[in-house]
Amino acid sequence: MVNPIHIVSIALGVAFALGFLGKRDKLSLGLVLSTLAGMVAISAGWFIHFLNSSVEPLQIFTGGFKPPFAINLQMGLAEATFTLLINVAGFLGAIYLTKELLKTGKNMMLIFLVFILGLNVMVMTRDLFNLFVFSEIQSIALAGLIILDPNRKSIPSGFKYVIATGLISSFLLLGTVFAYYFSGTLNIDFISQASLQYVKGGAVAVFMVILAVILELKPFPANGWALDVYESAHPGIGALVSGIAGTTSLFVLYKLIPVAPFISDILITLGLVSFVASNLLGLSQTNPNRLLGYSSIGQLGLLSATIGMQQLLGDKFIFIALTILISHFFAKAGLFWLSGIINRDDIKDWAMLRKKPILLVLFGVFIFSLIGFPPLPSFFGKWSLIMELSAGNQYMLVTSILIGSFIEGIYLFRWLGYAIKLDFSDLPEFKLNISKFLPTLTWGILLIATGVVASAEMEGLSGLSYWPLIFIAFIYLIDELPIYIKNTLSIAGLAFYSWLTLPELYYTDMLRFIFMGIFLIGGILTLIAGYAYKGKRRGFYPVALIMYAGLAYIIQASTTLEFFFGWELMTAGSYFLIIRGKKSINHALSYMLFSIGGAYAILAGFGITFAETQSMLIASLSQLSNMVPLVFILLAIGFMTKTASLGLHIWLPGAHAEAESDVSPMVSAILLKAGVFGLLLLMIAMGNNPQIATIAYYLGWLGALTALVGNMAAAFQEDAKRLLAYSSIAQLGYILFALAMMSHLGWLTAMYYSINHFLYKAILFLTIGAVVLKVGTHSMYKMGGLIKNMPLAFIAVLIGIIALSGVPPLSGFGGKWLFYNAVIDKHWYFQGIIVFFSGIVAFLYLYKLIYSIFLGQLKDNLRHVTDISLWFAIPIYILIIGIMIISAKPEWLLQPLGKMISQWYPNGALAWNGGLATSTYGYWNGNGVMITIGIMFTTILIWLIVLSRKAQKVKQFNIVYAAEAPQRPETTHQSYNMYAGYNKALGWIVAPKITEFWNMMSDWILSLAHFTRLIYNGNGQRYLIYILGYFVIIYFLVF
């Protein structure tokens, strides 16, 4: 095992030796690189050594004397880890900067080398003054690296950096020498033994030391200098500053906490303030590097807060801190490196990434790891963090952390959206320099790898198998293959998974069986439609499968962690599905924001639960005794962001309408059910708690209003898919209402509706999507008369709307009938009336849908469109068969459902006598009604046929008209603004109040951000004043 001191000796030796080489830059660079490689090797060796055997850390006594008489370095597992991180990053960073270093010559190379060295020693040393010396080394070296490419921007910012760090290190030195005076030693361990915080003056000394370190972490608002550096310096340098320099300072802070333990509490506050504030300021930032600067300052704030929480977090601390830190370390460096490859000044230009798709994937990985999505390390870190904090009842901290992360999500996903969607045709071509690409790629891979390792560390995640994810990865690898191969494989995958899971679920757990069926079978059916597409359809299948995997995980989850894992996975997948649509960049963003917000609400709810029950089992929700309403509301809100209940619904219409033809059914008919499932779990667990009843009462009202507004809005749409989207909102409103009744019939209705809605909404969206593919427009008034060209589609839509409207004899009526009985049974008359009213309003849009598209006048440009693609027709008609079966034999569905629900609500079940269902109030024989109506209908049909056999077909426009008949379909097709009178009468109900509310919120936040960031007026002296002020103010806060 090589003595760690040789990290220093070889680095310095080489740095000095470069003087011999004179102008031979290539050779020098090679030397530097190999040196860095050597340093990596040394630290790696120690890392492995300590990983395998938990031996005492190694102490290196410089000068050959024991501390406190001489400086000693320490090499333990922590040190090994951090030096390894530093050196690897240094090595790759140097590779990344090859071109620049060769251009600038050997001076920069040796500065770079010394910079890395300084960081190494800062990690290892146990001597305060030595720490000061080497932090000076790294900051001076950095001051040199900033001017790697000297220009109007980098030089002044370099100067700002020098004076700022100069001031900060003076504080450090002052503190250090007085710490020596009061404690008689410079060794960190001995100083902390002297516990100076109790010595008059000594406390101030250590305060200065620790505060200097905190200031090195660029806390808000004393960080203007750092931002300028991030913006102006070469991104390769930015990566080093944000990635490894920040990491090192964090480790130093961690190392020094024992010297001034009293700082912990205030440190938490400072860190979180910095976290929230700098994320907020990031909102109105368009320069990628500066934006990354804001983000990394935020992350550092969160991490330093975490260090302050060491006591709260207990033995979980290391795991949490490390996972979050590593995500930041890899992601931020990676993003800076990407920025260096792109080399543009506006985040909008990052659409360039699409010219090299792999870069886009890396970008996504980095962004998602910053927000903390599975399976990336920070997901587990944030999860554990929230859990532990809640366990300590630190709800203020939880709240601020979640708020901060949410704000961070806003700009990061806006950025991702730009990269994925914006037009990049007029952006310049760029060639991918291997020396720049390799490090970035490595970082992405390492990030995922650490995520997997971290997931292995978590308890409560054992239930989920990783095979689906591996399968998805495989699907991504074959992304270049033609569509039918990937589609077949995906379908096969889903089929296989359902074969694995469904049969046993059927016998063990009906509820999960039903939803798993909706998710997987629905998935297969919607995927079949994918055969209709041509070409490769890059990136579609991985994300679709990610969504389905997430859904499956939700079903299989037994612990809250597994559930949340699946939930986030599903969110991520659906986000990518939605953003694939043509104009859906903003809709996808708002979908993501609502989802994140909801996810954080869920997280908080689970946290509170864990705090009390100390158990991660989902069942533990039922053991909760205090704060039940809060948890219930939090979780309900979280789930209702998916069910798009009134107030949380504004993301849905756009997202579903703009999505691709076969994606709309996925996200509408299938995805929304995840929220329903969540609500069901929630109510099953907590339903018997008396406090919930009142909340459920209001949920019921919410559901009713959602139904009303949804249907009303749908009636006034001109865009077919938007209309269906609003209809989905309304349908989910019914379901929410029915769930909230928390009675046997109520839940029966809810389940029946969930299944039905899945069937007919899938039919409608698939059909309309297929039609849209053919006619090339969403606007209904541009279609018309298509019944002649598309009989298949017409029949499908006809069945769909009859089923949806609840007209007997099709399955929809069952829902209505159950509804009446449930409502009267529950005495929720007035909510009920609203729901029935909206149910009738549904006729408006249903008629508009089918009339405007298929009836009325055929347009000239559509005379030759053919019927919908067979690949769409197949799943559609399979679903229609499903509807027919349920309509003819409702008991086949309702009886098992009733049995299932009886385990929670035994009272008020339906009595079955053959096909005749009898409730307390009414009775209904679906089968009989079907037959009766069938016979009657056919009789009359036959009669009419007998009477008018020779009815002759006439041409279009052959209509009786007062004047001569109009010959233009556009003027004769009465579709646009069909319900003008109705709008005049009741349009006020759907005035976009809620959208306005959310817009107002966002405007407000943005203006706040814009106003706050004015404090960074670019004046170096102002920044110094901030630093001094920070120093003084914090002093008065502490003492």
Binding site: E136, I147, P150, I163, L173, V177, L227, G1018, L1028
Partner: protein, 124 residues
């Protein structure tokens, strides 16, 4: 009270005074060079403070020769550690100052201005 008249205390007071002056220069002067001077004043003051910390009542320099025998060194000499530290801090101060001056020169070359206010391109 007497301690406030002792030599080391006065030395330290002087040092702190210099530091305060330096800080004032740093935060109030607009001229880059004056700011740099403020920094070096600050450093100088700091170094004086460090030295004053090393003094032990009526002791002599920690150099063993005729004046100080090895045997009674411990009772005679001043604390050598801060003196070693001050050496380091002086050198570091020198390095930093040189760096700042170099920066100033470079900035002057770019804009022919020594006003710190004229270097605010980067903001927000």
């Amino acid at each position: 009270m007497t301690q406030y008249l002792s030599v080391e205390f006065i030395a330290m007071l002087t040092g702190f005074l210099l530091m305060v002056i330096g800080v004032w220069g740093i935060i109030s002067q607009k001229n880059l060079l004056k700011i740099v001077i403020g920094f070096s004043l600050f450093d100088t003051g700091l170094n004086i403070v460090i030295v004053s910390l090393s003094y032990v009542k009526n002791s002599t320099a920690p150099i063993l020769d005729k004046a100080v025998e090895v045997s009674d060194a411990a009772s005679k000499i001043a604390d050598p550690v801060p003196q070693a530290l001050v050496l380091t801090s002086i050198v570091i101060g020198l390095g930093v100052t040189a760096l700042m001056l170099a920066y100033v020169m470079r900035m002057f070359r770019e804009k022919k201005s020594l006003e710190i206010n004229s270097y605010n391109e980067l903001k927000w």
